[in-house]
């Protein structure tokens, strides 16, 4: 069948500067550039280009420009370039169109409609550089009150506290499975977690033996496919997360194509090499909330009640009610993943049309749990497109105890959001298990980049807290007074629990 599709991008080269060093050919994993020996020039197959910008970054002479193909369909607000192309592609392939990373469509971004307070006169702003600002927090189940024991002039704690995770900064590294990303990425993230005093979620692909030594800073995940789940795995981490859903692809399962299942991945996941790794849509032993309770306690028993159990759900329409159920089912931490969250591979229609923004889900979950009087018994982690330290602060003000970041961590390492993770050809060496390409990501270099940007965000968070006159993160949690909305409707303001700027 003849293809009617046009290249998305056009590769342009400034031949006056090109020295034919062939770095671009080496670096491109999509086979775009090639050397024409006859003409002694480098030429490009634009139709293969995905705009990952690897060649642009690495070209020593800055000769390459990637441009959007000017051959566009006639401008149409409704039948967009992407819409038309998708249909044509489907006509040629008969398959669902895949995409990587998170929803890129222009749905409203509520982070950008929330503004933060600062103190003037009636309360002093605090200077984080001079005065202590505490951003440590504890994640897990907490009792509503504590019992104290009085002995003459001495007083001590009688209540037994449930296990909690201590995070020195309210940002954790989100679950990205071993298989979706490679071992270098996992290693960089877990080492960064140790350095920053936080945790790394190893995702549903199991935990590689080389990383077990960092167990104190790892959250292990139990997803529907139960890859790599045995007693040792469950006890290897500091906490266990039951993955019910994921913001990028709520309601559907996962699919790691056989091509990406290398020997090593196969070993960790405990499936034969080369077979597709399929995660079912639901946990087939959780068909109702009481089943979830059953699994939670099974895990607690398996780990002798020494680890907090977290449950991760995608942000969907009745997240508030679901979260309430999860809290009562015995979960210690609830993770809500908004629709902007990223993935290694998902059908694009699901990624772009299913799920709701984390801002609204978080606000309604926090409010609902308070109405039921159970908010302080569990911790809430928000995730799904946290882009900056300002988003972190706003999330906490809306009610989160902490946030997970996925996309941002990958961007720090090199990702340029070209959205082709599902091809397994990630030229930055992140979303690929091909050892030749994966080795491009030096885990030491990646670790340093991640630590740097975490440090920068910590400084920024403290600056924002100080400006609000708050010297400890627990006084920001759920403090909607510190937020004001702009460009929001009455209903939106009400759901977010935020006043309009000016009030």
């Amino acid at each position: 069948m003849r293809s009617h599709l046009l290249p998305e991008y056009i590769v342009e080269r400034d031949y006056t500067k090109c020295t034919r060093c062939k770095v671009c050919i080496e670096q491109c994993t999509y086979g775009v550039h090639y050397y024409n020996a006859v003409k002694d020039t480098i030429e490009s197959k634009s139709e293969r280009c995905v705009n990952c910008l690897r060649c642009v970054v690495f070209c020593p002479k800055e000769t390459i420009t990637i441009k959007r193909n000017l051959n566009n369909y006639r401008e149409n607000y409704y039948w967009t370039q992407e819409t038309i192309t998708s249909i044509k592609r489907q006509a040629e392939t008969g398959s669902a169109i895949l995409a990587g990373m998170g929803c890129d469509k222009p749905y409203p971004v509520y982070w950008d409609k929330l503004l933060l307070n600062a103190c003037q006169v009636t309360n002093p702003p605090i200077d984080p550089i001079r005065e202590p600002i505490e951003i440590r927090t504890y994640l897990g189940r907490k009792p509503t009150k504590i019992e104290l024991e009085l002995n003459n002039e001495d007083i001590s704690l009688e209540t037994d506290l449930a296990p909690n995770l201590c995070v020195e900064v309210p940002i954790l590294f989100a679950a990205m499975s071993y298989g979706a990303v490679n071992l270098n990425v996992h290693e960089a993230l877990v080492r960064a977690a140790v350095e920053c005093g936080t945790y790394f979620n190893c995702g549903e692909g199991g935990l590689h033996p080389n990383l077990r030594k960092y167990g104190n800073h790892i959250i292990v995940q139990v997803a529907s496919g139960r890859f790599g789940v045995d007693l040792e795995y469950l006890n290897a981490g500091a906490a266990i997360e039951i993955k019910i859903g994921q913001g990028a692809k709520p309601g559907i399962g996962g699919h790691l194509p056989g091509e990406k299942v290398s020997e090593d991945i196969a070993m960790v996941r405990m499936i034969p090499a080369g077979t597709d790794a399929l995660s079912p849509a639901p946990h087939h032993d959780i068909y109702s909330i009481e089943d979830l309770r059953q699994l939670i306690y099974a895990l607690k028993e398996a780990t002798e009640y020494m680890k907090p159990i977290s449950v991760k759900i995608a942000a969907v329409h009745n997240s508030a009610a679901i979260a309430s159920g999860i809290a009562r089912a015995g979960a210690d931490i609830i993770v809500i993943d908004g629709f902007r969250g990223s993935t290694g591979a998902a059908p694009r229609v699901i990624r772009d049309n299913v799920g709701i923004p984390i801002e609204l889900a978080l606000a309604s979950v926090d409010q609902r749990l308070r109405e039921e009087g159970i908010r302080d018994e569990v911790s809430i982690i928000a995730s799904g497109g946290i882009r900056s330290s300002a988003d972190v602060v706003k999330a906490i003000a809306l009610g989160a105890d902490a946030v997970y970041i996925g996309t941002a961590a990958l961007v720090a390492m090199g990702c340029t959001l070209c959205q082709r993770c599902y091809t397994g050809k990630c030229p930055w060496g992140i979303a690929t298990s091909n050892p030749e390409i994966a080795k491009r990501l030096d885990s030491d270099d990646a670790y340093r980049r991640v630590v740097n940007f975490m440090r920068a965000w910590s400084i920024e968070i403290k600056e924002m807290l100080g400006a609000m006159g708050i010297d400890s993160i627990e006084s920001l949690r759920g403090n909607r007074e510190q937020l004001r909305g702009v460009g929001l409707t009455e209903r939106e303001l009400r759901i977010l629990g935020v006043k309009i700027a000016g009030e």
Partner: protein, 382 residues
């Protein structure tokens, strides 16, 4: 001139106050007149701006010692009728009368002030399985939240709050405070920057016998309020100080946490200090800070807190607001400024300035002493 804030919006802006606070307790329990407390707070006139003042006095109703004395402020007579109907249904009223006031040129357009001496109705009490205090808290929250135009200013036994718009000295005259005697007085002069004229915004704030006068602003107000509302306390006074009174009631009365540790909830030690403590203390402080994280009071504050038997002074852990304490004979003074104490008691036996987050407690009776060294300074009765 005052305007009552709209009820619809319980999430209204909070009123900030910059102010003067003062407290005085005779540690032997001997009752004294208004002369000294009023003189002291008038010395700090500079800190207020005449738009708010108030007093909480303990030991003023010896004839009704065991009944709950409700001081209620009414913006209109309809509210009064509704409240009285409510009270009849839920309490046995031993006495109800207008709080005597004096006509004044400077106190303009005051609301109506009544007091009721109440006992919870035994059958109702049994139905609700509550003890007296819990029952009263519940009913007070109902009145404040549901009956428009009525605010319970105080609801403790053998004590009362007198407050409103005006300089404290003028309010003392208006309420004829020279006719009362109490063993403990706390006073407040206010400098509000929002909605001047709201009588309910004056301090002290009270629930059962907890009263609070506060200097500062709580940047944690949103967090504190949402936590307290989850536990049944309704914030209706549009002023951040309200949460401090409820916080003490929840921590000390309901959850039975000793008051020294309750202070450590409001002004907790830094994590680095907790990490360095010996294991048992560390565990306890970690638990306190984790479980009651939403009650941490952030922002500059100094407070004077009173409840029967104890006068408490506390500042935020960075000591961003002033607080001084003085002792002469059997009297403990706590004040924003030392000058106010010296003004009424020039020869003090002792004067101390607590550190940030350090609590001062003056106890009437030494029934159970829990001294946590470095966190408390106990004032001895000679």
């Amino acid at each position: 001139m005052y305007t009552e804030r709209s009820r619809k919006n319980l999430y209204d802006d909070k009123i900030f106050s910059s102010c003067a606070i003062f407290g005085m307790i005779n540690l032997k329990g001997e009752r004294f007149t208004s002369k000294k407390p009023v003189r002291a707070v008038s010395c700090m006139r500079e800190r207020g701006n005449g738009l708010g003042g108030g007093f909480a006095i303990y030991g003023i109703y010896p004839d009704f010692k065991d009944t709950y004395a409700f001081h209620v402020m009414y913006m209109n007579t309809r509210a009064k009728k509704r409240v009285e109907r409510f009270l009849t249904r839920n309490f046995r009223t031993l006495l109800s009368e207008e709080i005597p006031t004096e006509n004044s040129n400077v106190i303009l357009d005051p609301p109506i002030f009544w007091r009721y001496f109440l006992e919870p109705l035994p059958p109702r009490l049994k139905d609700e399985r509550a003890d007296g205090d819990e029952y009263v808290v519940n009913k007070v929250m109902k009145i404040n939240a549901k009956i428009r135009g009525a605010y319970v200013l105080s609801s403790g036994k053998d004590m009362g709050v007198f407050k409103g718009v005006g300089f404290p000295e003028d309010l003392a005259e208006f309420f004829r405070l020279d006719e009362y005697k109490g063993y403990m007085w706390i006073c407040h002069a206010r400098f509000p920057t929002n909605t001047p004229g709201w009588w309910g915004g004056a301090h002290p704030f009270n629930i059962v016998d907890w009263s609070v006068a506060h200097n500062g602003e709580l940047s944690s107000y949103g967090t504190n309020r949402r936590y307290l509302e989850m536990h049944g306390y309704k914030c209706t006074m549009h002023t951040d100080t309200e949460v401090i009174a409820y916080a003490f009631d929840l921590l000390v009365r309901r959850h039975r946490i000793p008051v020294e540790l309750a202070a450590k909830v409001l002004a907790p030690p830094y994590w680095e200090e907790i990490d360095a403590m010996e294991p048992r203390k560390r565990l306890m402080f970690m638990a306190l800070r984790q479980v009651y994280q939403s009650l941490m009071m952030n922002g500059p504050f100094s407070v004077v807190v009173a409840h029967h038997g104890e006068l408490i002074g506390l500042t935020d852990r960075k000591k961003l607001r002033p607080l001084v304490m003085g002792v002469e004979d059997n009297v403990l003074y706590i004040s924003s400024e030392e000058a106010a104490i010296r003004f009424i008691s020039p020869n003090l036996d002792k004067i101390m300035r607590p550190s940030g987050g350090e609590i001062i407690i003056g106890r009437l009776e030494r029934s159970r002493v829990i001294e946590i060294p470095t966190f408390t300074r106990m004032v001895q009765i000679k």
